[in-house]
């Protein structure tokens, strides 16, 4: 039984770690701006495309990795300045529509640049080698992802709890207007949030695309949505919550893909019934259940709407 289930767990933990890195961007932005940044998944995809083109231009790997991360962070910064900042005082719906517009624009730009064809992600040596672990063979990145994710999360939590900018972030997410009155430079805080979120999405994209090596303009849409669900599941605004939510979703999704064979082997199902069809839908079902039963998620704080 263990041998049957273990490979799915392994895939799940790996993809969960990658979702976690995207989910942090969602949860931080939502915590501060109350905005579902629909374009975040596409930033993740653009990071993948940048890597493809930068490597193709002949820049060696040790230089292209930091270059891609820096460029991704800058794109996050730029998106905020161009598409969200002018709408700071507009209704929340307008900002969300703007986010959808940015997502549409990024996808179409990539479609134009790539001609709509799949791009093969460059191979990053060492982490894309195959290794054997407890009887399952997989890429080394699968094993590295959860650890790298945890390290980055600890670093981020330290940043938020121990530094001045972190304190400012916490203040802004508690009360936007008051913190402004207390002299916090709101725009700097928001930009920092976007830079950190995009940077982590960039790291996530490297891990993700090393595992699943094709990048196309729609590559970011599903991982983005799932990471958002993870953020909601863990309690939006809570970083540990987003990470735990992401791991749960990653694991569950892969278990669902293998549910037919697991149930079939343990004798519950007489024949496969195609439950894998629901691997994506399950994530959303989970989202709706959590929204209805416990809208604040696993670790979210209770908020009250003011009249």
């Amino acid at each position: 039984m263990w041998n049957t289930v273990f490979p799915y767990l392994l895939s799940g933990i790996s993809v969960g770690g990658q979702y976690a890195l995207i989910a942090i961007g969602y949860t931080m932005v939502y915590g501060i701006l109350r905005l579902i940044n629909f374009a975040h998944g596409d930033v993740f995809m653009v990071a993948g495309i940048l890597m493809v083109y930068i490597c193709a231009s002949g820049i060696p790997l040790y230089a292209s990795i930091p270059l891609v991360l820096a460029a991704t962070a800058f794109i996050g910064f730029l998106i905020e300045r161009v598409a969200y900042k002018p709408l700071r005082s507009a209704p929340r719906m307008s900002v969300m529509i703007s986010a959808i517009g940015v997502s549409y624009t990024l996808q179409n730009l990539v479609l134009y640049v790539t001609g709509g064809l799949n791009q093969i992600y460059p191979t990053i040596p060492w982490i894309s080698d195959s290794i054997s672990i407890l009887g399952a063979t997989t890429k080394r990145v699968t094993v590295i992802t959860p650890f790298l994710t945890l390290i980055l999360v600890v670093a981020l939590v330290l940043l938020i709890n121990r530094t001045k900018i972190g304190m400012a972030m916490r203040a802004v997410s508690k009360d936007f207007e008051t913190s402004q009155l207390m002299g916090i430079k709101i725009n700097t805080v928001i930009s920092t949030t976007f830079v950190i979120g995009s940077f982590l999405a960039g790291v996530g994209s490297m891990l993700y695309f090393t595992n699943y090596t094709t990048v196309i303009q729609t590559s970011g849409a599903m991982p983005g949505l799932k990471a958002f669900v993870a953020a909601v599941f863990g309690g939006i605004g809570s970083i540990p919550g987003a990470v735990i939510g992401a791991f749960i979703i990653g694991i569950m999704e892969n278990i669902i893909k293998g549910l037919d064979v697991i149930l079939f082997k343990s004798g519950i199902l007489a024949r496969p019934v195609g439950l894998a069809t629901f691997s994506d839908a399950f994530t959303f079902a989970l989202l709706i259940i959590i929204l209805v039963v416990k809208p604040t998620g696993l670790f979210g704080e209770k908020t009250t709407d003011k009249v």
Binding site: S11, D260, F264
Partner: protein
């Protein structure tokens, strides 16, 4: 803003009028192929075959007049929801005959628009039987999936496999159809078949590969679009699977070869054409690719000949034969003339049966040589 927009509109409407003021009359052939999306790479290679044929034979004598052949392109985006507008684009440009498409789903989705306009279509590599069934305007020059499925099932059996794991993309008529015919044939041979599907846009195939391992499959059959098959090959190699990957004609692409090159993986496919079958075509096509950088890029960066290019080449000449036989550029007359058209193309003899399907009795089986990164000929298979 508004003034600018209206100006833009006027320009847009006038642009087509500026083009083309030549003496020779023009006959338009529509190219209904994907240039983007999951099958974009394959569609581009198929189009290359037509373009090469077009620059080889740019004119055709219809009746007593010599016509210049103009290829009119429409990108059907590899998805059935974009196919209608691509089809309408071709119809509105009054093409005489249409070539395409690469995939079956888009062909079925576009079919009705061509039928309504009474324009005949020559399917190039759309292998699902539904494409030509129950209509009189869709023809095709390739073999059909019941045939291909049987060939593949026989081959799987000859590898000694008793359990086959089949994977198809949800809602892709080609995948689902071919898996279905494979299943019928393989079960008739006494084998066991497990089928699974993945949603469009999926990129994580590790769990599906795990499924195949857990079911004890001895062969992994995935006749999916190029975009997915490269990832499956890549991830299967990384997971160190022991079963061979079996695929249909969609996997016949240098992109798949590149994914398998240098890895410990066995990929076997069936296809329409094997490089070396017609040296004149091979050499000419390669020379053309090497002289045209854009064509080279569209072919995936090297000059390996894909079977779909040969098929595109044959489709173009089939259309020319039909134009000659009809003696006019009127699409209804071409439709009437098409059933009787025969020619010897580079991929073999082409003639149509009462359904509008090509009469084809053999398929090529090829495998990837992972050391050199080339296709290796295995066998020419036919079904009794």
């Amino acid at each position: 803003m508004k003034k600018f927009l209206s100006l833009l509109l006027v320009v847009a409407l006038l642009l087509p009028c500026i083009a083309l003021a030549e003496d020779m009359p023009v006959v338009k052939i529509g190219v209904f192929e994907p240039a983007s999306g999951d099958s974009g790479a394959g569609g581009k290679q198929e189009t290359l075959g037509m373009q090469y044929a077009n620059q080889e034979t740019p004119t055709v004598t219809i009746g007593d007049t010599e016509y210049k052949v103009e290829l009119v392109y429409a990108d059907n985006g590899s998805t059935p929801d974009k196919a209608p507008s691509a089809a309408q684009q071709l119809v509105s440009q009054q093409v005489s005959v249409v070539l395409g498409s690469y995939g079956s789903g888009v062909s079925i989705a576009g079919s009705q628009y061509f039928a309504d306009a009474n324009i005949p279509v020559i399917g190039v590599t759309c292998t699902n039987p539904q494409v030509t069934l129950g209509n009189d305007h869709y023809f095709r020059i390739c073999f059909l999936d019941p045939f291909q499925g049987t060939v593949l099932a026989n081959y799987a059996k000859s590898l000694g496999a008793t359990t086959a794991y089949c994977l198809a993309e949800l809602g892709n008529d080609y995948d689902v159809g071919l898996v279905n015919y494979f299943q019928q044939a393989f079960e008739a041979l006494g084998g066991m078949v497990i089928t699974d599907t993945f949603p469009t846009g999926n990129s994580d195939f590790t769990s599906y590969l795990n499924n195949a391992v857990n079911y004890g499959a001895e062969v992994f059959f995935c006749p999916v679009s190029i975009a997915y098959s490269t990832q499956i090959v890549e991830q299967a190699a990384a997971q160190g699977v022991t079963f061979p990957i079996l695929g249909g004609d969609t996997l016949d692409s240098n992109v798949v070869v590149n994914a398998a090159k240098g890895k410990n993986i066995k990929v076997i496919i069936t296809t329409f054409y094997q490089e070396g079958a017609n040296t004149a075509f091979d050499e000419g096509f390669k020379a053309w690719l090497n002289s045209d950088s854009e064509a080279m890029t569209n072919n995936g960066g090297n000059d390996m000949i894909s079977a779909v290019s040969a098929m595109g080449y044959d489709a173009y000449y089939t259309a020319l034969e039909a134009l000659k036989a009809a003696g006019t550029t009127d699409s209804a007359a071409i439709k009437a003339a098409l059933p009787a058209v025969t020619l010897t193309g580079v991929s073999g003899l082409i003639s149509f049966d009462e359904n509008g399907d090509a009469i084809r009795t053999s398929a090529y089986v090829k495998t990837v040589n992972t050391e050199t990164g080339d296709w290796e000929f295995v066998a020419e298979q036919s079904v009794d």
